[in-house]
Subunit: 186 residues, 2 copies
């Protein structure tokens, strides 16, 4: 029989985690942390920047987690990509609203984990300002974990973070003209 | 109002996805795909190689997904790391049993997604053979997705895969002597 250890940190930390890079597995990694946190009976809030124009499996997936995970998609799709019909001003308005919402959720103290999905590239695309991200980080209660995903994370955000992973694409099925597949890609 | 598109691929593919590298976010990414797949009402089987000696939030998290995700931890912790009391032979026996179990699950056709967590490093650590991984890939029904996680993925596995991401550590909280935190690290 394998003996099972149950870890419990002597000192609790509210971590700042950044998941960046151009590969597949940033949002999915954040979703995995949400699932893991739910297993620990923690409360999670996911705010998706830009996303909201395309159904994704996680929208229904998190509903199964007995109210532990709230997911809000605030956007109109990826700003500037081919086929997206919305102007930069429209995307910016959405992202600005998402920042306000993030501030409310972070300071509500209702959540153990806050995930700001695609916030890094929202900054890169000038939908929000660096000071706004820094303001959210500063507003974070000490024991709340804050997870920031999206490519092109700002160097100052990386500097402040405790854990930073860069997900690099080695290859991706879409380059072989394989369409996005449910459960894997969305 | 943002119009919501619901994608549906014209051609379904069973993808081979590899998540490798030394950074945080490989298992968590696979867990995110499990959550996403559950949202699509797909069936998922997760077999964890080596893991099983330490409680992780995902063990209870997946139980909330209404029977859609089965998770089996087959191991005795990471082979060869400091503090792990089990011999290479014991780890190898466990990994060999996990391969048999993986074969049964893959060929059962009961699952849309099979996740073999930490299988890549199990090969690197000589707990299993390359031919065994290639055999599992070959046995995969056409429309089943197979996700292989763990650092040091074998070049031939990367060659066969459709989507490969490498998660690199930029920084990690443990280097600042912050202990693993529930919901984030386990």
């Amino acid at each position: 029989m394998t003996e099972i250890t149950k870890l419990a940190p002597e000192k609790k930390h509210g971590l700042i985690v950044v998941i960046t890079g151009n590969g597949k597995g940033k949002t999915t990694s954040a979703l995995g942390m949400a699932l893991r946190a739910a297993g620990h009976d923690m409360r999670v809030c996911i705010i998706q920047f830009m996303k909201g124009d395309m159904y994704a499996g996680e929208w229904d997936g998190v509903k199964m987690l007995d109210g532990r995970v709230e997911l809000i998609s605030t956007g109109k799709g990826f700003c500037g990509i081919q086929g997206n019909p919305y102007s930069h001003a429209e995307h910016r308005q959405n992202a600005q609203d998402a920042i306000k919402l993030a501030y409310e959720k972070i300071t509500s103290k209702e959540f153990d984990v806050i995930i700001l999905d695609e916030i890094n590239n929202s900054l890169k695309l000038k939908l929000i300002e660096l000071e706004q991200i820094l303001g959210l980080i500063k507003a974070k209660p000490q024991l709340t974990h804050l997870i920031l995903t999206g490519r092109d994370a700002h160097p100052q955000v990386i500097e402040i973070a405790d854990t930073v992973s860069e997900v690099n694409e080695i290859k991706h099925a879409y380059r072989k003209d394989i369409e996005p597949q449910p459960g894997i890609d969305y």
